[in-house]
């Protein structure tokens, strides 16, 4: 037993010696007489030049945070966007839409019901419709205010409130933004599900746009449940809401992302947000002060029959003939 083991050890030892000799001899032979330490050394300059624009200088790191392996990463482009382009875009879109709406109100005034109030009501939006609308609407308004605060707060509010009070408000606003975002995502999904069937573009919309949508000129072009303008709002909310949700999600959970990815998401989020805010301000205008009888649709859910006949003539016909239910919930009996 003992002799067998020692034999095995001797064989193993011999093997190792042979292996070592075989591997080290050629290596020794190849050793250059003098070492040039700069040969193939990493020059920062060369590395930066060899990089594609926007890519980081990365290496290996021994700490668990693998993102820290990026030695020098892009950042200045995003800074320029965040501090110059985005505030400009935001200011132009907010001031621009305010100017357009004031001008529209001055020229066109409030859009009245031509035939006057009929006194008869027709159910336009049921409980589910209105829940979806107000879930999306209230969360959007909270997100818009807290989001605008990130871009403009330090220029507008901070000088008035002082840095401590502003930081406290901004911290609260950040939390609101992070959590209310989920309500908005739910609202966008519901919006899509319950209204997409009435928002497929069709030939009626072309006529509606050709006739100026009743916004410009006299008379009302025919429309089904949603007219061309409303379909634009619907698809803006669905597409814009999807982009905002997607980019917002990535900004909320950035742990696995590269820095360029996060910068790109922040760019997308800010740009989409300001475009959406402008669109929604126009939507709020026409749904409230801009048009007589329009608010009832999302307020009580029941609109005046004359308003419905003027703005959604084909829809009223369908409802009257019993071809379709009025709202997206059990219709209430007429009083």
């Amino acid at each position: 037993m003992a002799s067998k083991l020692s034999k095995a050890f001797r064989a193993l030892a011999f093997g190792f010696v042979a292996l070592f000799a075989a591997s080290s001899l050629p290596a020794l032979a190849q050793q250059p007489t003098s070492v040039n330490p700069t040969a193939q050394s990493v020059k920062e300059e060369q590395l930066l030049q060899a990089l594609k624009p926007g890519a980081p200088v990365a290496g290996r790191i021994s700490i668990p945070d693998k993102q820290a392996a990026n030695l020098i990463q892009p950042g200045r482009d995003w800074r320029a966007f965040n501090q110059e382009t985005l505030p400009k875009l935001g200011a132009y879109s907010l001031i621009g839409i305010a100017f357009v709406l004031v001008a529209f109100y001055a020229l066109r005034g409030k859009i009245r019901i031509d035939a006057g109030l009929s006194g008869m009501k027709i159910l336009r939006f049921g409980a589910l419709d209105r829940f979806t609308h107000w879930l999306t609407a209230t969360s959007f308004i909270v997100l818009a205010i807290t989001g605008i605060n990130v871009t403009f707060g330090k220029f507008v509010l901070a000088p008035v409130m002082g840095p401590e009070a502003f930081a406290a408000w901004a911290g609260f606003a950040k939390l609101l933004h992070n959590y209310v975002g989920f309500a908005f995502m739910a609202g966008v999904v519901l919006t899509f599900l319950i209204w997409v069937k009435d928002n497929i573009p069709n030939a009626v919309d072309l006529q509606w746009f050709a006739a100026g949508g009743g916004l410009l000129g006299k008379g009302h072009p025919p429309a089904k449940r949603f007219n061309g303008g409303q379909k634009i709002i619907f698809w803006s909310v669905v597409v814009g809401g999807f982009l905002l949700s997607l980019s917002g999600w990535h900004l909320l959970f950035p742990t696995a992302e590269s820095i360029e990815h996060v910068q790109w998401q922040a760019t997308l989020h800010g740009t989409t947000a300001f475009v959406m805010i402008a669109i929604i301000i126009a939507h709020i205008y026409i749904g409230s002060v801009g048009m007589e009888g329009a608010f009832d649709a999302m307020g009580s859910g029941e609109v005046d029959l004359n308003w419905a006949k003027e703005h959604h003539s084909l829809w009223v016909e369908d409802v009257m003939k019993g071809k379709r239910p009025a709202g997206n919930a059990a219709p209430q009996p007429a009083e």
């Binding site: 930081a167 911290g171 959970f253």
Partner: protein, 198 residues
């Protein structure tokens, strides 16, 4: 006043990570956060170099520019510091930083970020120099005691240099002239918009 800078001589750095450890210990940096780190470029290949990197205390710092609550300030020594009382943990400084310096402790659910933490150049924060509040939030204030950042002070090969930018650039230039090569002042162009002419 001196313009404080860091310079890592990559031809001397041996990736011992002592600067990382010293920093974590000196400032009692929370778990998961490394104010300084060592990155190895071309690992295992000819010409491998290691660079110790932290906040470079940039001229016209991007973090300060994008901060939505303006919590950053630059000291008379050109050290970029921030107030953890004002910071809301939004993450924008991390998006903008070319060196990945700002980091956030995970404090609550949904991965939301706590107050940002980064290298202070061993210069503390807005609280009174050497106060307990300053120590708790930002770590030791060595600069106020007339000492340089610990990472560079205890670097075994003197690869990491900290101090007045002109002086450490001169030291580096002399080294490069004497030994005949140098891979450059890593990050200087990005941070200070200038480099050490070799």
């Amino acid at each position: 006043m001196a313009r404080m800078k860091f310079l890592c001589d990559a031809d001397r750095c041996i990736e011992c990570n002592a600067c990382v450890t010293a920093c974590k210990n000196e400032h009692e940096v929370p778990w998961g956060i490394n104010r300084r780190r060592v990155v190895t470029i071309n690992d295992g290949k000819p010409g491998e170099r290691s660079v110790s990197m932290a906040c470079m205390h940039c001229t016209d710092a991007p973090c300060a520019s994008v901060c939505p609550v303006s919590c950053f300030y630059t000291t008379a020594d050109a050290v970029v510091l921030h107030s953890k009382d004002l910071c809301i943990g939004c993450g924008y400084c991390f998006y903008a930083c070319p060196f990945g310096a700002p980091q956030y402790p995970k404090t609550s659910n949904f991965g939301s970020r706590g107050k940002m933490d980064k290298c202070t150049y061993c210069a503390g924060g807005p609280e009174a120099d050497g106060s307990q509040a300053e120590l708790d939030k930002y770590g030791r204030n060595r600069l106020a005691e007339g000492k340089l950042p610990l990472c560079a002070e205890m670097c075994s090969t003197k690869a990491l240099l900290a101090g007045d930018g002109d002086i450490i650039a001169q030291i580096y230039k002399e080294r490069v002239a004497k030994r005949g090569y140098g891979s450059g002042a890593w990050g200087w162009k990005v941070a200070y918009k200038e480099t050490v002419a070799l």
